[in-house]
């Protein structure tokens, strides 16, 4: 044998030749799965990634009130003092444009998740921001020189984005964009008060460049009465005098926030750091605990009820077993809503079960049992609905346990019980594992049944997620709750793998 690399028949190195042959096969395998892969990427992976992203994404504050965010950056939120007038002014400018773009209410809703009252505060301020006293500036500057009334003047002076007067240039740029968004002509639109406010502030800060109009305005500055934006805002709502409001804006100014996750854990992010939410706002930890606890109870009930049925199925002659199996599968072919509604009929206080109990004299009419719209109802209905998911894996595992194991155990002197407990049961544990994982994971994210029969005490975290998705529209929180749920499932899966070993889980075969 030579020392060089092994060569294929055509002289190419064998390794390369092999790789080429394998590549073709891999390519073909990939093409076969490609349609499904694309489908899953689009309908499953991408939405989940988006959801994970939404749970930390927080661009709305920065996008809606960028100047305020900038101005609050230097404010020490622990000082118990209000932010400087510059911040109020920046907020005024932001609010004017946000109101014009109808974005301020959305921002209000977003901040309302963190501090109640923000939503109405923003809505109220948005309504009033057009009537601020800043029109005094407009009148004063126009009085100094009528040219200020002409949009062309503004265009000439500030359209180039002159850095000598940053605030005015910046405000003008946004104003121009807003006008264009409304499909109006920036050269025909009368300049807004917000522009004069910026102009006044730039000039009073000594920012100007060489222009006769500006020099004249600067000279006449002394005659103009300054307007306090702070007072204007406080006039709209006293809450603007509350440092907490500004702290909330400052805290949630970042593009990414742990706020939703903290919220999911009944915590909140304040200027001082993370702290617990007020007692009356804490619901998520309780809901998570309840979801886990009830899922465990449901899983356990499914094992208790499903094990004997699966055993019977596995040990009956094939024909009888098939009939029984159809009975087990029957619920699968019935609508989930029908099944859940049937439980409503059965379990309610004027329902079938209570009627029978009263009729038979076991309880009196006043003592009708409350079995629905609480945890009992959810547990009963969900155990019934998830039972097939326990029975089927158990059945397929039990099918593979040879009857000779039990016979061998008995021939070795074990009683029926010992034979079952020491020999049959350990061999059926993989089925219990598979069924439990299936039932538990399905239960933890179940929505419809708890919604219908759970009342207020029997609802799961998923019902809260649905509420945030469709009613409160707090998608960020819904995403965070969903992410936590997903993580919990993955952690449990991992823990199960560590303890039992996922290889021991069999769905049959």
């Amino acid at each position: 044998m030579s020392d060089g690399p092994v060569l294929a028949a055509d002289g190419t190195p064998l390794k390369r030749s092999l790789a080429r042959a394998l590549r073709r096969e891999k390519m073909r395998a990939f093409l076969l799965v490609a349609p499904l892969l694309i489908f899953i990427m689009v309908t499953f992976v991408a939405p989940i990634a988006d959801m994970l992203f939404r749970s930390v994404e927080n661009n709305i504050v920065r996008d809606t009130i960028p100047r305020t965010v900038q101005a609050l950056r230097s404010w020490d939120s622990n000082s118990d003092e209000l932010p400087p007038e510059a911040a109020f002014s920046a907020f005024y400018t932001d609010l004017v444009f946000a109101e014009e773009r109808k974005l301020h209410t959305r921002l209000g809703s977003r901040l309302n998740y963190e501090k109640t009252g923000m939503s109405s505060l923003f809505r109220k301020s948005g309504r009033r921001v057009g009537r601020f006293d800043t029109d005094e500036y407009s009148k004063a500057f126009t009085g100094l020189d009528a040219a200020w009334e002409d949009p062309a003047t503004w265009n000439r002076l500030f359209a180039t984005g002159n850095t000598a007067m940053p605030e005015t240039s910046d405000t003008y740029a946004t104003w121009r964009a807003v006008i264009l968004e409304n499909e109006d002509d920036p050269l025909a639109e009368e300049p807004w008060d917000v522009l004069f406010n910026a102009l006044y502030r730039d000039l009073s800060n000594g920012n100007a460049f060489d222009d006769p109009l500006l020099s004249a305005a600067k000279a006449g500055l002394g005659s103009i009465e300054p307007v306090s934006i702070r007072e204007q805002l406080v006039d709209v709502d006293e809450d603007w005098e509350d440092p907490e409001v500004w702290k909330t804006i400052q805290t949630y100014a970042a593009s990414y926030t742990p706020g939703y996750f903290l919220n999911s854990a009944d915590l909140q992010l304040t200027g001082e750091g993370v702290s617990a939410r007020p007692e009356n706002e804490r619901i998520y930890i309780k809901l998570f605990q309840r979801t886990l606890f009830m899922s465990l109870v449901i899983t356990f009930s499914c094992i208790l009820l499903g094990y004997p049925v699966a055993w019977l199925l596995a040990n009956l002659p094939a024909r009888t077993a098939n009939v029984l199996l159809i009975l087990v599968l029957l619920p699968f072919w019935t609508s989930l809503l029908v099944r859940t509604s049937a439980w409503k009929v059965l379990l309610q206080q004027q329902g079938v079960i209570n009627d029978i109990l009263v009729w038979s004299g076991l309880i009196d009419d006043a003592g009708r049992l409350v079995m629905i719209n609480n945890q009992t109802g959810t547990i009963i209905a969900m155990t019934h609905i998830l039972l097939p998911f326990m029975i089927l894996p158990l059945y397929s595992v039990m099918k593979t346990i040879p009857p000779s194991y039990l016979r061998a155990a008995k021939s070795l002197g074990a009683t029926n019980w010992t034979a079952f407990w020491r020999v049959y049961f350990p061999n059926s544990v993989p089925g219990i594992g598979a069924g439990s994982i299936l039932v538990f994971i399905l239960a933890i994210g179940y929505y419809i049944t708890p919604e219908l029969v759970g009342g207020t005490q029997g609802v799961f975290i998923s019902n809260r997620i649905a509420f945030h998705i469709s009613s409160s529209l707090n998608w960020g929180l819904a995403a965070a709750l969903g992410t936590i749920l997903l993580a919990a499932v993955l952690i449990l899966y991992w823990a199960y793998d560590k303890m039992v070993g996922i290889d021991n889980v069999k769905l049959g075969g």
Partner: protein, 366 residues
């Protein structure tokens, strides 16, 4: 091997019948006694009722009628775990979630034996089957032969007086099977335990047993030691089931002095030993073992009837030659000859004359 029937009837089947569906009897009127220390094999084709008999003895099936006695006591109503019968199953039925040692300790544990006793017994049992080093392994980590040994040790570890084996060697390859046959018989005789062994493999039955019960159609067709079974089958089923056999159909012509003449369907006359034919004119199947056919005329009795045979095929099989002949109109007549230096190798197409000693040719029921 010593046949020890004087020790009495250890296991007795008394008029036992078994039906699963109330229409067909799987076991019809079974009477059988097994002596203490005996190695008895139940041999038969599948569906002959042999496994059902074993299961009734083990207690997993109940007899529809009749009584089964173990050491003089009826056991029909004793549950399997109280019978104290060791059993080796077809696929070993080793518990996969326990190690080999735990498997062996199981019967001792359920008998509430102390830990040290248990360990000593397990070790002894494992050593007995040369598996001493494998106590910590799981059954899945063992080869088929090793699993077989463990299953055997487990059935013996609690020292039962009776051990049942249900086709225990079925899953092994030929060489291992032959080796295990030898080991099992030795072990059974060394320990002096009574063994009931079920198989459909006649070689296994012949090589291992003190006595063989040939089952067919829910009945014992013949119960005899292997040599008797092979050389003196009592009916055509046994003759054909045990070993290779040539059968020729015909009608009895004469019977005298323990020898009869049979007129074959082809018209030829042959000599035979009447076994279950009683009078001339009766239809019979004569059976001749391939190795008892003689084509050297000098070795036959004077005046013996011979048949014309045409050689169809000659197969060289190493230790023996196997020759297929056309005899009396049938072309599946086989002759086996030992590969000796002076042995004639027949050629296809040759015509020869064959014959046999009358006692080697048994006239059986048709």
């Amino acid at each position: 091997m010593p046949l020890d029937t004087e020790t009495g009837d250890f296991v007795v089947f008394d008029r036992v019948q078994k039906s699963y569906d109330g229409e067909i009897l799987v076991v019809k009127d079974l009477n059988l006694s097994i002596g203490k220390g005996e190695f008895l094999t139940m041999l038969g084709p599948s569906g002959s009722g042999k496994t059902t008999c074993l299961m009734m003895l083990a207690g997993f099936e109940t007899a529809t009628h009749g009584e089964i006695l173990l050491d003089g006591n009826p056991i029909n109503n004793i549950p399997p775990h109280k019978r104290g019968i060791g059993m080796v199953f077809q696929n070993y039925a080793l518990f996969p979630h326990m190690t080999v040692a735990e498997n062996l300790a199981f019967p001792l544990e359920v008998r509430k034996m102390g830990k040290s006793d248990r360990e000593a017994k397990v070790k002894r049992a494992l050593d007995m089957v040369q598996m001493g080093d494998f106590g910590g392994r799981r059954p899945a980590q063992l080869s088929g032969g090793q699993q077989q040994r463990v299953a055997l040790a487990r059935a013996l570890v609690f020292e039962p007086e009776l051990v049942l084996m249900d086709e225990p060697l079925g899953a092994l390859d030929k060489q291992l099977r032959e080796h295990m046959q030898f080991e099992i018989t030795n072990l059974a005789h060394d320990l002096g335990i009574t063994t009931v062994y079920v198989t459909h493999d006649q070689t296994e039955a012949l090589t291992m047993s003190d006595r063989v019960a040939v089952f067919d159609d829910g009945r014992i067709q013949q119960l005899a030691p292997p040599d008797i079974l092979y050389e003196e089958p009592e009916n055509s089923f046994v003759a054909q089931f045990i070993g290779e056999n040539n059968t020729l159909g015909g009608v009895v012509e004469t019977i005298e002095n323990g020898v009869c003449t049979v007129k074959l369907d082809s018209g030829d006359i042959i000599d035979a030993k009447p076994v279950n034919v009683s009078k001339p004119g009766e239809r019979t199947l004569v059976s001749i073992r391939p190795e008892r056919v003689e084509f050297n005329k000098d070795r036959l009795q004077a005046g013996a009837h011979t048949l014309q045979a045409e050689v169809l095929e000659f197969i060289y099989m190493g230790d023996i030659f196997r020759t297929r002949l056309r005899v009396a109109g049938r072309d599946d007549f086989v002759v086996k000859t030992r590969n000796a230096p002076d042995q004639v190798r027949l050629k296809p197409g040759e015509t020869i004359e064959i014959g046999w000693l009358p006692e080697d040719c048994r006239a059986l029921d048709a």
